[in-house]
Amino acid sequence: MVVSCPRCSRINPAHAVFCYHDGTSLGVTIAPHASPAQQRFPMPFVFPSGKTCHTFDELVLACNSEWRDARDLLRDGAFGYFLNGVGRADLARVAMQARNSADRDGALNELLRRMPSTVLKAAKVTVSPASVNLGQVVPGKDVLIELTLHNEGMGLLSGSVVSLTDWLFLGQPNAPDSKKLFQFLHETTIPFHIPAKRLRASSRPFEGQLLVETQGSQVAVPVTFSVPIRPFPDGVLAGARTPREIAEKAKEKPTEAGEAFASGAVQRWYAVNGWDYPVREAPASGVAAVQQFFEALGLTKPPKVVVNRRELFLSGRPGEQVAATVQLCTEEKKPVWVAVTSNADWLDIREVDYDKRTATVHLGASRVPARSGQLLEAQVTLTTNGRVRYGVTVRLDVSGGAIQLPFANASSSENAFTALEIEPEASGTVNRGINIPRPPLEVPAPRKHRVRDDSVNGERGVSTPLWAVPDASGSDRADSVAPLEGKAEPVVSSSFLSRFVVALIPLALVMIGLIVPLVRDWVMFSQVKGNAGLTTTPSEDLSKYPDALVLQMDDTDKLGFVSPTGNIKPPEGNQPDPHAYDVTIPASMRFGLTLFADNRKLTFERNGISNNCVILVDNNSYIFGDSGWRKKDRENAVGRDMILPGRWLTMSAPYDKPGIRFGRRSVWLCDTANNVKVTQTVGLTPGTQSRAFDTCRIHYRIENGDEKPHRVGLRFLLDTYIGENDGVPFLIPGQKELCSTFMNFDDTKKIPDFIQACERADLNNPGTVAQIGFRLEEANIEPPDRVTLSAYPNPALNDHRDRSSWLPLVAGSPFMQEKTKWAFPLAPIHTLDSGDSAVTVYWDPRELNPGESREVGFTYGLGRVSSSGGSLALTVGGSFVPNGEFTLTAYVSDPNPGAKLQLVLPQGFSRVEGDEIVSVPPLPADGSTRISPVTWKIRSGPREGAFDLKVKMGATEQTQPVQIKQPRVFSG
């Protein structure tokens, strides 16, 4: 009967308990006491030592105790035959395969593991020592340690030992390893070591670890030790425990410390502590050694060092001693150090002298080799600050050959570099015994002694030796050769001068070029100045400037008298009232205008004292410049003093602004209670078309200097007067008739750019034409909110009964001439028989915050009316820039009914308001004027230039020239 294996399906004998092929249990019930491990073999297995094994357990134990014999038996195949005989073909196959295994220990171990055994314990490692503490270690020697591994189990124990630390190595010092494999049965020893170079002094202990790994287990072995720091033993550096402390102590006493560096004490100290000395070159001496050390530590930036020569030519006879020097220096205030090496044994590096910023290397040959006629060459390497290396070629000509050198002995350090007179050989090579193929020696062309000519700006190039005194021979210069004969040419001064002259050429050209425009403008200025140099000094002959104005200020205190009606008059003028009393009228800085040519007035008073400027602060009126008056003789007082709260901060100061002449500036404090300050500036300015100083520019700046807001406004009352006419009518652009009554422009938009007044209503002879401009060029100056044309607020109007035509009705006696407050009714100009016109310009109150200000202003001066006689005259006003708008007003004298005007514009101009053909308005029925105005608003073309505007009325034609000019970005 056969039994089939449930796994591999192979046939087994009937008595088989386990499959002979794969060891699978065949499901045969085994007696409980007969475990496979303890089941007796049909025949025992006997070891060579005589030990007999009847069961697998006994066999396993015996193999473990007699491992070597077991291994041999395995190799011989005994196990294979035996196991096959006991019916364990599976184990027999394993044993047979193990015969050929290279690792017989491993194969035996595997075989034992497969055997059914209850006694085989798994291999287990223990390590001794479990931890390694080396205590204090001295640097300089390798530290050797051994680790013993024990197998507490059975069978072969294999695994690896790994160092987890970079200073801990397995194996011997001559064969370090970071990992070691092991395989042993009972015990093994693993050596490891710490290399000497890893033993560096430190304030902290070293802690490392070895890791032992076997099948299924890990054991870590800590390794600790310490390397105490040895402080510097003696000297100025004594007690230093770190390189930084060395550096700090050396910095304090560099000279003394330099000796320690130079003697190598510091290097030895480093070695004692197991540290790498940072200076790799030969140590310098003195302070240079300290510098060298500091640079090596990175504590200081190395200076730039230059060497004075790159080639040395020596000459001598065999056996002689020759010497030369090479110098290195720096411009910076740091010591120079140098380490010198040579590649030739005949060349000695003797010593290096250090002197602050200079290092002098003495080298030479103590005995010139016996190689007569040869040219020996050596390369000297100079390693200096920053580890910059320079190569210096030293050539030694061993005399006794065909070459004669002009200098016999180059031992003097001063005789460093002079011209060579050598006859080059025809072959082009120098045959000196040692065949050094080289090009023919060239005679260096003697150079001119040259000092760096950029010393003009104080610069010195780094190639100039600092210690060099540029003498005629130039012997101290690395790159110059003394001339063979004669003295050095004095090229210093001529080179410098020529360069200086060349450098001045562009400047000279510019200066010469600028003379022309400057001279031309000066000539022009001297002609223009006459026109601008207007003064009020009568002695100056300004008859050739008929259009000039004179600006006169009320800038002195005056005596006056007060009439019972309250009128104040200066001594001159009207007849004094017998009941009046004398007062002192302080300066008010009011202003008046007159024509210089004939002294005709443009304001009622020459000094403008009938004008007034009122500032309204929170509904309280303050008159600019009016602090009241004081009675001259109190005993004769009839009225009372009127002291007003305002005062001057600046009464009269020059006002200089481009384009303004005779400017005056005054600053008035309205009241200390509200701290509102008003600055008035007036001055003459050229008219836009006339370019003569025929216009007065009036400007006010109102500032709230208080800590709380105030509502502030300003009103200017201008008492107009032209020539002999106090009640002139006004010509208003856009209006169909002259204004001879009153006019109220209560909307900013309705206020024209200007209004005019002719002295005479005769266009053939209009006389003086005054013009008031309401819009200044500066954007920050507000245009007025309201303009009124009316009768001057003469106190006599207070008694006038018929007020029905006045506007508005104001209670009380508001007409107080120059004392008139903010608001007063508009009465027709000719209310009083004499007629007295005034223009009032309002800037309505608005709130000013603390520190805030507002600026207002207007102009008053002469206008221009173009009239070639006859019944038609033209005048313009506005902006005369390309694409700007201006007003053209035509005045028609005694127009015929149905008369029409035709406007003819130049090309590019266009009408903004008004038709091309306009009917002339009829004259007013009251006969107040004989002139009828027609106004157009015109936009100029895009081009600038001189243009003619023409107005035709039947056969009559009048031309008004206008100058359109745009400011230039490149020419002002």
Binding site: V388, Y390, G391, D454, V510, F970
Partner: protein, 302 residues
């Protein structure tokens, strides 16, 4: 020439260029203010650009490329002046703000400033070469021109204001404010173009010994040729130890390298012979023949 002389010549010849530009502008008289000022600006830009290109070439070495460089520079400068003047007048004419006048000058200066380096940039673009150095030169010129234009415009206003204040009359029609303003503008543009190039230089070479010792060359191009030939960037005439094309300095990956290009005498750096590309560090001494050159670099190239 060294860098300080370069700055001085830039400023001085720029001033001269401004003066010549003003003389040219005097002859421009047109009805339309915009065109007039545009042509005035063009005249200024043309003259300034030509002079600045010549100064730049004088510093960096004359070669056959100076002619096309002048043409390109003049075109760019003239166009810049034309556009700047036109825009300036349009804005100034409508606002009459001083600020717009300064803006116009700044714009003019900006466009003129690009002229010295424009030829090189265009040439490198056309040859598909590295344009880093040329672009930097144009960029530096733009910055210098902008600042110079701004300052020049400011001075132009100040001079005009001074004349009005001291003479007390309207300066319209005077020559000297414009002339002085143009001169200062030209000087400012020239100086600042040079200054920006000097300040922003990465590396430069100074001839310490040899032909025209003391001159300095800013390494603004990717390759600098050293030799005895006429077209070399650093010409070392009169030194028989220098070949016609002896060595070159190239820029690679932010660093500077010297290479001996087949010379007989060899090239050394700090006494050590150059084999292949040798990196240059700040302060290195390059020796060629009997000439020596010092390489200097700003921090970022170390």
């Amino acid at each position: 020439m060294n860098l300080r002389w370069f700055l001085y010549y830039c400023a001085a010849w720029g001033a001269f260029g401004g003066l010549v530009g003003w003389i040219v502008s005097l002859s421009v008289l047109m009805d339309k203010p915009v065109l007039q000022e545009a042509f005035k600006g063009m005249g200024l830009g043309l003259v300034l650009a030509i002079i600045l290109v010549l100064v730049d070439r004088a510093f960096n070495g004359f070669s056959w490329t100076v002619v096309p460089a002048v043409f390109v520079g003049a075109f760019v400068g003239g166009l810049g002046g034309f556009v700047g003047g036109m825009i300036a007048q349009i804005i100034y004419g409508s606002t009459q703000w001083n600020l717009s006048l300064v803006f116009g000058w700044t714009l003019t200066g900006l466009l003129i400033g690009a002229s010295p380096g424009m030829f090189e940039l265009l040439a490198r673009l056309a040859r598909n070469q590295d344009t880093t150095g040329a672009f930097k030169k144009v960029r530096n010129g733009l910055m210098g021109g902008t600042i110079g234009g701004m300052l020049g415009g400011g001075f132009f206003l100040a001079v005009g204001y001074g004349w009005k204040r001291w003479l007390g009359i309207d300066a319209t029609g005077l020559w000297s404010p414009t002339a002085i303003g143009f001169v200062i503008l030209g000087a400012c543009i020239g100086l600042l173009i040079g200054l920006v190039q000097v300040i922003f230089k990465d590396a430069w070479i100074k001839v310490e010994s040899g032909f025209r010792a003391g001159r300095e060359l800013i390494l603004s191009r990717p390759e600098i040729i050293i030799g005895r030939a006429e077209g070399c960037d650093i010409a070392l005439f009169g030194d028989q130890g220098v070949d016609k094309l002896h060595a070159r300095i190239v820029t690679r990956d932010g660093g500077y390298y010297v290479e001996d290009i087949g010379s007989g005498g060899g090239t050394s750096v700090n006494g050590y012979g150059v084999i292949g590309l040798t990196r240059l560090n700040d302060g290195d001494l390059i020796e060629i023949g009997r000439s020596s050159l010092r390489f200097s670099a700003q921090g970022r190239t170390k």
